[in-house]
């Protein structure tokens, strides 16, 4: 299977590529993209409007005057910097733990034989369908019993081990030819060395895909931080935006400035890693191969 399909020259699937049709298609793409971007553009534009303009009965599209100081005001009104730092700690912590433990387990499931492998993997798979709301309450109770409310271990650990990561990486590892690893084993490498020097380097795109998915998911996570963090020490930006609304009514310019600030790092990360992301989806075999 080609892993670079999306960066290959784009092949037409129709013969009727007359210029008129082509122009219509480009116009269609352009129109849909413009419509799609309206909410994102509005978020940024309103963020720079004056207080009066953003709260006027008749909202305006383009700011009549620009207020870059809103950026600073958003940080002053709520501890937004703290919230962002907390979000990074939460998202990076869960991502790092999940990626490492999932890669190790996936290797064993893909390459090593041991009694009970099939049924243990079956149990992992079975939990994929369980909605996180089922585990929400018991996890909360468990963390509360361990005095973990409002602490980093309490925030991070319950979301750092999931079956989906093991499943995803196992799929990739199975696709790596066994010969590579056996060559290393013949040269005297043990399993650990074979894993670190052969499997991991070959699976970097897959591991990166998992990490990006996980990081974005946790940056977005509202429900878990909402129940487990109850002070600014661990409150994430997703939860913090709500506090913002509660304490300031609808001061739209500052609220949307805070929303912009919270979203921008994710968008930047997304675009920096998009190639892996797209390739990861292709590699997982959904392409129909």
């Amino acid at each position: 299977m080609t892993t670079e399909t999306l960066t290959l020259p784009w092949r037409s699937t129709t013969t009727d590529g007359s210029t008129a049709v082509r122009k219509l298609l480009v116009f269609g793409c352009f129109l849909v993209t413009a419509l799609t971007l309206i909410p994102v553009v509005m978020m940024v534009l309103v963020a720079f409007q004056s207080d009066a303009e953003s709260m006027a009965a008749r909202p305006s599209f383009w700011p009549s005057s620009w207020h870059p100081e809103n950026l600073q005001r958003a940080f002053e009104l709520v501890p937004l910097g703290r919230y962002l730092l907390n979000t990074v700690i939460f998202a990076a912590g869960t991502t790092l733990l999940e990626t490492i433990t999932a890669a190790l387990a996936a290797y064993a499931f893909a390459r090593l034989t041991f009694p009970g492998r099939s049924w243990l993997f079956g149990i992992y798979l079975a939990t994929l369908m369980i909605p996180s709301q089922v585990t929400l309450i018991p996890q909360f109770v468990l963390v509360a019993k361990l005095q973990g409310i409002d602490t980093w271990p309490g925030m991070i650990l319950p979301h750092a081990f999931t079956a989906i990561g093991v499943f995803l990486l196992r799929q990739f590892f199975l696709g790596i030819p066994k010969d590579y690893e056996e060559a290393a084993r013949l040269d005297g490498a043990n399993r650990w060395q074979a894993f670190l020097r052969v499997i991991v380097p070959l699976a970097i795109p897959a591991i990166a895909t998992l990490a990006v998915f996980k990081f974005i998911g946790q940056w977005n996570n509202l429900l878990w931080p909402l129940v487990i963090s109850n002070s600014d020490a661990t409150r994430t930006a997703a939860v913090g935006l709500q506090v913002f609304q509660d304490t300031n009514g609808t001061q739209w310019n500052l609220l949307l400035m805070a929303a912009t600030i919270t979203t921008v790092p994710l968008i930047v990360l997304f675009f920096l890693t998009q190639r892996w992301f797209v390739r990861g989806i292709t590699m997982s075999g959904l392409g129909g191969r």
């Binding site: 784009w10 699937t13 599209f61 369980i130 399993r191 797209v278």
Partner: protein
Amino acid sequence: MAVETLTAPPATGRSASAHGSRKPRSREALTAWLFILPSLIGFLVFTAGPVLAAGVISLLDWNLFSPPTWAGLRNFARLGPDPTFWSALGNTAYFTFLSVPLTLLVSLVLALLLNQGLRRVAVFRSLLLLPYATITVAVAFVWIWLYIPHDGLVNAVLGLIGIDGPAWLISDFWAMPALIAMSVWKSFGFGMVVFLAGLQAIPQQLYEAARVDGSSAWQRFRNVTLPMLSPAMFFVVVTSIIGSFQVFDQALIMTNGGPGSRTTTLVMYIYRTGFENYDQGYAAAQSLVLFGFIVVITAAQFLLQRRLVHYDN
């Protein structure tokens, strides 16, 4: 194929080691357990354990603060006469049955559009993925702003063509469609990428063969594109349905379940029951019922896939 291997037994590497002596095999087993252990401990403590615990908690009367008392199946019996639960279930179903086909349609149309060999397609693709890369809570606030009654941007545009738009988020009828529109906007990017990957993998010879046979563009779409794309479509449908059954963030921010309980979803009701009314046993019972629905619907899809999804091996 990810979806297929989900049901297939795990491929075993047994042949390689089956002929080895007993000792290396038990050493391999020990190595395997060492590799799995970190993941397994976390999995048992934070996933498998809590799932079992949810079953026990659903049988208790418990407000988190005083000691629990045994309730038996009473929490499940409470679901029957609880109108809020049934309306939450109905709302969730309504949300799913509109948002999933819409998301699917928008993703597919855009993927087909982007797959026409246009120049600068990477730019369009990146920009169209933007909503997917934003954070739900943040863009939910933007959508509230767009939906402001009378003069919000949505109604201002409708006003230009002479339509007097409703007060979207506080309207009994329009609050849910407004949430659905926002959700489709937020999530079509994922399906679009999956479909693009799928379209790219369709062998061109199939189209050429179809052309030689003199088939029309529609026939090629119907007989080549759709069947070849069906595994990707199946994946997107399954994940979208599971996701939409768990919708929470945008509903909490944009309508807070209102007006009345018109947009209260199952997950929001579970959250309210557990963390606002401190009725943990009842919340656990609700979450297990939600799980039951997801299992039934997913199983039904896997049964349907045997007839509808085309795999090429």
